[in-house]
Subunit: 160 residues, 2 copies
């Protein structure tokens, strides 16, 4: 089977998960898979309302489970399949996890059309903090700067 | 004590947590608090390398713990204090959690100066998926569209 055919197959599994878990009442209609070398490392689905956790999006739960399976905080060489374009939170998580690729089906605009805030949050992220809809207060701190200096000088730090 | 003085006090506690947990070897130099009506609901700190979880930033862990404490997936009326400006992942999580305000000390530029990718990810988020450094593949799917329609028509859905 070609790479493209396998992409479609894994994406279909993420979409199937989205439907199954939504129908089970666990959360919004989103599913995700983390795959490495053609093997599924983890499956995730939206659990925001059932787990009472606003961070429990499909991609976040799949990334966390894949990292537990690998015993590492990165997913180098992995592919993330998600039934919908990641929201900014999940996009940030994906960058931190450093997979090789992301494959998605629906878009942020499709998500907005059924009532999700993804598109709104995408508009807020690039704004200077003081210009956002949500109130951001900046209180610069010499103590905070000192903690960053301590990190720089820490000899046994684990970078990520 | 004035509101501003309390802001400085809670922020100092977030910075203190950042230092303490970094020195304990748990992760990067970041701490956060969720506060409601002057009461601390939760404390979070970076646990990426110790928990092997790329999503375990200070704000994410604080938000998850506060939601567990409240038994709800939103943090309406709460204030999030964080030792550093949130990265895009944490910013997205904050929007989904819907607190009243965010108070922060160091900035994304300070974080970049000590080796963290926050500023890089901020530049990537607004780009069209096909123009990002990370490979994004869009495979539109009629099955995915059908799942979104099923969500719209679901009579007992819990919105978030």
């Amino acid at each position: 089977m070609t790479g493209d055919a396998r992409d479609a197959e894994f994406l279909r599994e993420a979409i199937r998960l989205a439907r199954e878990k939504m129908e089970a009442g666990l959360g919004g209609p989103f599913g995700a898979l983390v795959v490495r070398d053609g093997t599924v490392l983890s499956r995730g689905w939206n659990q925001v309302t059932s787990a009472r956790d606003p961070t429990a999006h499909a991609e976040i739960t799949a990334i966390r489970a894949a990292c537990q399976a690998l015993g590492h905080f990165e997913l180098r060489g992995c592919v993330i399949y998600t039934s919908c374009e990641p929201c900014p939170m999940c996009l940030g998580a994906i960058y931190w996890a450093r997979p090789a690729r992301v494959v998605y089906a629906s878009t942020r605009h499709d998500a907005a059309a059924i009532g999700f805030d993804d598109e709104f949050i995408y508009r807020e992220v690039p704004l200077p903090p003081a210009e956002r809809t949500l109130a951001f207060v900046h209180l610069p701190s010499e103590e905070a700067r000192a903690v960053f200096r301590a990190w720089q000088e820490k000899p046994d730090k684990v970078r990520y």
